[in-house]
Every structure is written in C-alpha cells, then in structure tokens.
C-alpha cells in the first residue's frame, strides 16, 4: 500500500515556526508507523528526528500523536491507521525538534511522588512475604513504561502543567497499594494537593491513550478514595 504521511516538522536552528511536511511511502499493512518514519528518514529526509528504541512497545521512547491520538509509533500498524497518517509530537511538553519533546518536566513530576520502595524495617534474610492477592492489588500499575501518552493526552495537564499528571499518579499507586511499602501516607499527602489527584476530572483520555492498557482513571480514583477515606482497601 502507498501511505501518505504528514509529519510535524520543527528545527529550531532553521525554522521560525513549525510546519508540516508530507511524504509518500510504500508500506506493508503490517508495517509499524515507526517503520514508515524510518523509511522517510532513511530515504527521503535524514533530518527528520524522533526517539525510538525497542520497537515493540516496551521502552516507551516513541510516544507521538498519530491521527490525533497519543500512540506509540511502534505499536501502531499501517493497516489500522489507513493510508493517510498525520504524526505530531505529544502535546503539553516543549518541542525540541520535530517529534522530540522535552521530557524533563514529565520526569520531574514522576520523581515528585517518591516513586521508589520505602520500608525501613530490618530486612529479612530471605524475601519479604506477600500473598498473591496483595501482589495482584497493584499489578496493573506496575506495567507503566513512562512513555507519557497518558499525561500528554490529559486536558487538565494541557491547561496547567503543574498538575502532576496521570503517569505520576500511576507510579504513586504502584507503591501506595503495595502491602510491603510503608510510605503510602507520605505519597497520599503529596497527591492531596491542588496540583495533585483533584486535577483529574475523569475524562478518561489517559486510559484510552495507554499503550499498556492500564486502567489509569480507575487507579487515580483509588488514590482519591484512599485520600478521602484514609483506607487502602
């Protein structure tokens, strides 16, 4: 199939303002949008810049807006996009060049919720025990690959980038509901803030955007409930 791909281009060294460039590419229906971008870069315009690494939806490098929706380019196939594809950078983060955005504010929000295991009790000689049910409780949010598809699809984040955003809340959720962790109260306090969980207005864009199919809005709801009730049930 021949695909017409329209790509957001911006090179701050040359361009006063962003533009769109259109390329025609021969593709298989099973080609990933990432494969198509590689062909454009390899044969038509080497200056086209984007991030990518694992190419199968695990590393989280190639989040972009594909036909208006936040997707990983490596997990979106030509047979699903159709022959006309528009590719743009994810929204709400500063564009550095073409499809590359400044991820620092995103990671700063991530770090702000203390996304690491906290338990200062003496370590046992072997593993800490955890029941299968307790492990299952936070399984969904352990899937997060920090691609930013969720946060940059969230209108509340677009409106105010001080909002910690869905990805950071997902990261907090993974620890808050881990029976081995001891810092749930600390994290709930951080998220019980004007720029914390209450910026979430259950629009569900994040859930739809997540390439890992994490039930993000549900997770945020559970964090809100934990703050409201003081209970982690």
């Amino acid at each position: 199939m021949q695909v017409t791909i329209r790509i957001f281009r911006y090179n701050p060294e040359k361009d006063k303002k962003p533009r769109y460039a259109t390329y025609k590419v021969e593709a298989e229906p099973t080609d990933r949008v990432l494969d198509i971008l590689e062909k454009v870069k390899g044969y038509q315009d080497g200056t086209l810049s984007f991030r990518r690494s694992c190419a199968h939806g695990i590393c989280g490098s190639d989040a972009m807006r594909i036909n208006g929706f936040n997707r990983l380019a490596c997990k979106t196939l030509a047979r699903d996009t159709g022959t006309r594809i528009t590719v743009e950078p994810i929204l709400g983060l500063r564009v550095l060049k073409d499809l590359i955005v400044d991820m620092e504010p995103f990671f700063e929000n991530y770090r702000s919720v203390k996304p690491w295991f906290i338990n200062d009790e003496p370590e046992p000689a072997q593993e800490r025990f955890q029941s299968q049910e307790d492990r299952e409780r936070f399984d969904d949010t352990t899937k997060c690959i920090l691609c930013a598809c969720c946060t940059t699809s969230c209108p509340s984040f677009w409106a105010n980038d001080q909002y910690v955003g869905p990805a950071a809340i997902v990261a907090a959720h993974r620890f808050i509901f881990d029976s081995r962790d001891r810092a749930a109260a600390e994290r709930l306090k951080i998220l019980n803030d004007v720029f914390g969980v209450y910026r979430c207005h259950t629009i569900f864009n994040c859930t739809l955007a997540c390439p890992r199919e994490i039930q993000i809005t549900k997770a945020i709801g559970e964090v809100k409930a934990a703050i409201a009730t003081g209970s982690l049930k």
Binding site: E13, K41, S49, R51, S53, C54, C59, R135, T142, R174
Partner: protein, 597 residues
Amino acid sequence: MKIHQFEVLVVGAGGAGLMAGLYASKTAKTAVISKLYPTRSHTGTAQGGIGAALGNIEEDHPEWHTYDTVKGSDYLGDQDAIEFMCFEAVEAIYELEHMGLPFDRTPDGKISQRPFGGHTNNITGKPVRRACHAADRTGHMILQTLYQQCIKNNVTFFDEYQVIDLLLVNGAAAGVVAVELATGEMHVFHAKAIIFATGGHGRIWEITSNAYAYTGDGIAIAIRRGIPAEDMEFFQFHPTGIYKMGILITEGVRGEGGILINGKGERFMEKYAPTVKDLASRDVISRAIYLEIREGRGINGQNYMYLDVRPETVNKYAVIDGRKRPDGSPLVVTGEQILAKLPDIVDFCRVYLGVDPITQPMPIQPTAHYTMGGIPTNKYGEVVIDEKNTALPGMYAAGECACVSVHGANRLGTNSLLDLVVFGKHAGLRAAKFAKGASFQSLPADPTGFARAQLEQYLKADGKENAFDIGVEMKKEMFDNMGVFRIEEGMKHALEKVRELKERHKHVRVQDAGKIFNIELINAWELGNLLDLAEVTTVSAIARTESRGGHSREDYPKRDDKKWLKHTLAWMRDDGTIDLKYKPVVITKFQPKERVY
C-alpha cells in the same frame, strides 16, 4: 567543550549500569551517562525471568545452577566466574526483592519460579523451577526498580548523552568523550574509573529481538582503543522470535507448557532433546528449527514453526510428560491462567500478528538475541586485555557488553538478567574502591580529537552512499551467512561483503548538519560500530574450525576440545587488520563431556 570530573563513570543505564551506579555512588562521586533515558534501556524488554536456585517450589541448589550454566555454555564458560555468579544469585534476588521488585508469588507468599531452558534437577535431568519472574515483564520490573532506587539515592545521570570515545592515558582509564544529543556539544568526562555497561549489538542481523539502540557502542569504542574483543563468534539466536519481525517470545511460554510444532503437526523437539524436549537450551532448539525447515517441515513449507500455548495443547502434553503442580496434582491450565502469566506475549501477538495465542498457535523463527562475547573481564568486572588476563587499571565492564565469561558459547535463559545484577554490582563496588586509592590521569592535549574526527567524517564525505541501504545489506548478509548455521564459504562471503560495506560507509554523508538532536549523525556512527563488530565476529568465526554452542559449522560439525577449548581474543589494529589470539578456559570442577539434553 565542557569538562566534568567524577571518580567513577558508568556508561549505559540498563540493568548493569544502574546496578553499578547504585553501588559505586555509595562511596565514590559517580555519574551514569546514557544515550537513552534509563528506563528506555534494553533490559526492560527481558521477559521470562531471572535465574537463582532459591528452591522456593522444589529442590534446587546453586551447585546445580552452576553445572547447568557450564553445560549450557558448551564448556566455554569460565567455571570460577560461573560458580561465583550462581552462588551470588540467591542473595541478589533477595536484594532485588528488598528494593521492592514485585515478583510474582507462590501460594505461600514466596517469590514464584518457573522452568526455563537448560535449567535442570541435576539428579533426574528434568526441568527445575529456577526462573524468578514478574509475569512476562521481569526485565521491565528490574529496570524500573533499579532506576527508582537510583533516584532515591540521588545518583547523578546524564541522560541522552552519546559516548563516542574512551580516553586511555599511561595505560589506564582517564575518561570518556560524549555528545550531548540535545545540543550537539562535546563533553569530556574525566574519571578515575570507568564502567562500560553499554549492551549488545544484535542490530547486526536482519531478524532480531534487539532494540535500535543495540549497536555495540561500548565494544566498538573499546576495540578502537586497542582493547580486544573476546569470543565474538558466539552470538545467540533465540529460537522463538515473531515470524519476520523477530520480536521476542519468551522461553517462559515453554516454561508454562508451550510446545514447538512443525508443519506436520509434530512435536519435533523430542527427536533433538529427548529428556527436556522443548526446554533444551537455545542453541539446540534454534538448530532443530533450521534442520526441520531444511527437511521441508516448516509450516506450509515456509521458514517458520508454531509455538503452541493453547490450553488444550499445554494440557495434552502435560499428561504425556507427566508434568505436575508442586503439590503433585496434574497440571491443568486455562486460557485465563495463560493470559495472567504471559500478558505481554498475548498482547504482542494480537497487535503485530493478529493472532490470539490462547486460541491460535504463534508463528515463530529464530531471532538474533544476545552477545555472548564482548569486552574481556574477570569475575570482578575488571577489563583484562591479553592472553594473561592483565587488567587495564581503572577500566571495568559489566552486562551484555562484557565477556566474563559466564555464558561461554551459549547463554542459558534467565542468566543475562542475573549476569547484569551480579556483575553490575561487583563492577560498581570494585570501581569505587579503585577510585579511592587512585589519582586522576591527566587528560590528553586534545581529548575530543578522535571523537570529533569520527563524527565530522559524516559531515564531509562525498555522499555517494546511503547509510540506510548499507544497514539493510549488512543485516541481510549477516543473517544469511553468519546466522544459526555457518560454513566457510558463506562466512567468507559475509566477510567480503562487510568489508565492501565498510568501504562504502566512508562515503556516507548526513543531510542533517545541525547540532540539536542530530540523530542522523549518531545513527551513521552507530552503523560504523555495527560494521566493525560484524567484521570482528566474522573473522573470529572463520578461524574457529569447530562447532560449539551458538557457533555451529556445517563443515566442522563436532566440538573439538583438543584444539578449541579456548577463548578467542580479537584486536582491531590501526590499519584495520584483525589479529586473533587465544586464552585458556578456566576449568575447576567440570571436565568437558558430550552435551545432551
């Protein structure tokens, strides 16, 4: 140009780099430099598990793990290092758990374990449950957990910095030169100790499970500075990659009871590995798949096989094999249980193949997967640079880019994650200790000179050649002639082709002349790394006139311990020639014998 000074520098932020950074930074001023954001590293794609003889579900011992790894390596692994790794494994897993890693659990709350290829009960020879897992995203969990611990402990990161050169002064490590991708600016990192944890180079081959980033940067940089590369002819082809795409389908699928089926509907592995069948080691299974295809028994006569994990198939063969649950009851699985244990595999198949593994078999073929060779080190992670294992002061390597060697001629599944945790940690500790007792070497007069020259080449060349084409041709040639089976004339063809491509690569000129995120320039340089390593791999392979582990020759089908029970060391000289020398394998307890599964 900016100059930074750290006592310890870690290059690479996958599992080994993060572990090294975490440990080195406890006592030394440390920085971790990575071309990717750390969480993008290839460790994250590891799926099935990390090996350790915890014995949580059934009897197991580090001694058994040691023997299995030696046997898996086809006796080319150094037994002192293997024993060290397998005995450290148990502690390493508990440590990861204490860092919060969310392992799956047994009904009594311990870390859950599953069978994996080549890991056996040494008395019965049957598969043993040794792979500690977190669904089929164990690598993801390790990478996330280690990154989280690094943030918690304020480890200093330089994200999206591409290291181009290694500075050696007075025969010791002095620093590295890196490009900051966001600005194109050159940075010199002056250090007392340097740890390379830069990963492998599976992007040399057409069908690969490896990330775009896997271009062998660390090994290529090292050989340009006179450090040899060890055992480069040994590269692992994982038997089960998604047909045509190469995306990994974990061995954990077979650990959970999945079966390999040929075009006649036969479970062909019983012929090749009568005892452990579908859980033989990877080299054995990849060869079996090729042999079946050659006999016309691919699916529909094509170059692929089925990996079948449908509940009815798993349950049928569980009865035949007498597979039982830990409590002794018969093993019966449902579709939901398979989905719960292998969610990502199910997702990959649905997205990329339109196949639902719960109701349909998965089309698979062998895929380039793992670099057994690499920068030679001893079991402390110290880089050793000759046949006598002379250490290069201040220089360390760990993880896939290093060749300790614990994997020898063939790595067992789950041992790569173990390798990077154990040797990442010890390299970090050693480097920090070394740095405390060492002083900085003075930097050379023009520290960035060689790095600049390498990059400027792509801005000045005549532009007669296209880098993308060269990459495509290299990958195809290497997959056709330097893949699972090898023969002299094919390898010589590959060598000629790679040398032709290296010449053509000199004519590549990038269109992007800018500074900001000049990815095209970096990609052109990475291609040069792949070409250099393809050449070293091929030269090392032609010289080794035997078959051992992942190096399987049709013209020399037998292992030859008399002549070849030794490690290859390959030097790339300044004039481009490659010199080969050899060093002995460390053998302690296990004398080589025939390898049967």
